[in-house]
């Protein structure tokens, strides 16, 4: 690979890696999501000449990641630690996240977890903005129900 290609991919990698990994992990779980992100990025690097000219390379690589993990129809797995540092984790959070639909989980985790704009989620995942908003709202409501959050204090 020429220096120019390597440099441009490296700069792309810096910005794209966290976004792609988080989106795919939200959709497919910790292990599968991370593997899918790695495969998608490797694919993108292998075909960087083609990918870098695209209007939305991140969205394209998200699709690549989806296709790489689509064959395995297992529910996503989130191993939630009881405590990490000063953060205490609700024990039911892992199951509650796993039981959300793929799109609801994606919307909830990216919008409420990482503070993505609805349009950003739409751009990466190819889902329309109003649909992302609906999934985020319904997903959060479902998460609250699953964790028996009855109060809105």
């Amino acid at each position: 690979m020429s220096d120019d290609r390597a440099e441009t991919f490296e700069s792309f990698f810096e910005t794209a890696e966290p976004r792609l990994r988080r989106a795919l992990v939200a959709a497919y779980g910790l292990e599968r999501g991370r593997e899918a992100a790695a495969e998608a990025l490797a694919y993108g690097w292998e075909r960087w000449d083609k990918v870098r000219g695209m209007r939305n390379p991140l969205g394209y690589l998200y699709r690549v990641g989806q296709s790489r993990t689509r064959a395995r129809k297992h529910p996503p797995v989130f191993d939630v630690p009881a405590q990490a540092g000063d953060i205490w984790f609700e024990p039911g959070l892992a199951n509650a996240l796993s039981e959300l639909s793929e799109r609801q989980r994606l919307a909830v985790m990216l919008v409420h977890g990482f503070g993505w704009q609805l349009a950003e989620v739409a751009e990466v995942t190819g889902i329309r903005v109003p649909t992302v908003q609906t999934h985020a709202e319904r997903g959060l409501a479902r998460l609250r129900r699953a964790l028996e959050v009855r109060d809105h204090v």
Binding site: E46, D79, M109, G113
Partner: protein, 309 residues
Amino acid sequence: MPSADWRDCVGHWRFVIMSSGLDVRIRELVDNGAPPLTLAEVDALRAFIAPRRRSKGPLVAVAIVATVIVLVVVLALATGDDGSQSVRVPPAQSVSTSPPPTRQPSGTPAERTAHAADYVYAVDNRHLVVGAGCPDDTPAADVTETRTAVRIRVVYTDSHAFCLTGSVRITLDSPLGTRRIIDATTGRAIPKGQEACADMRASTKAHRSQIRGRMFLSAAESVPMQGLVTATAVSPSTFRCSVQTDEDGQFTMYVPTPGRYVITGLSPHYFEGHSECVGTTSGGLAPSTPVSISRTNNVVHIDVLCNGV
């Protein structure tokens, strides 16, 4: 004093966690559970991507053939019950795989004109330089890669009546290996430089001469230019032979005799192979002037100069 339902307490407690810390927890969950990828990790995976992609072709073909066979058998069984119809087996050529992905150059198809590729040489196993097109209208190339061949269709957007030799640099999706390179415009194989010259080496001495020389930067003779040196026969002959130089810019090639040849060179280090270097003899032959080689010339010395403009 009314006692609060324990569910309210738990609910309130969970809500605090949910509302004030859901974002923190999700970030912690994702970034600790699936730690950031490194470039080295992704690079290691690339080695597996290319072979897997190449191996898909035969699998797809087998799957399609199997599907067609199953359909034919099902149709035969279905129509065999009443015996009133005969089943026509599809001809073999109707079974085809979907076309592999093709890289498209800019411009609409109507604007582009196909141009036969004249020659090709491999800079390395992933990069080709194809000679064709017009220097003032950077040519592009449609490349279709299959397991056994690389098909190249050189295109340019302008309609110049006279096209001098330009070149297109192509990066392949997977290593060239032993695949043939085919000009999609003419359907003929494009000779790889080294091979074309090797063919001539096998002919009898009476019908060929050896051209030796060196390609270098004319402004600094000590700077060798690695690349491709081409001998193009002047009309009516259509012979063209290319050979790659060594690290010192030295080359040796064989051409049929008698004949008149224009010697040119291309180097990826000189305008990235988009500008030609020109051959000249020690006798002061003007650049680009055809060199006449008779049957008595067993060895001819011609240097190829890159002007360094």
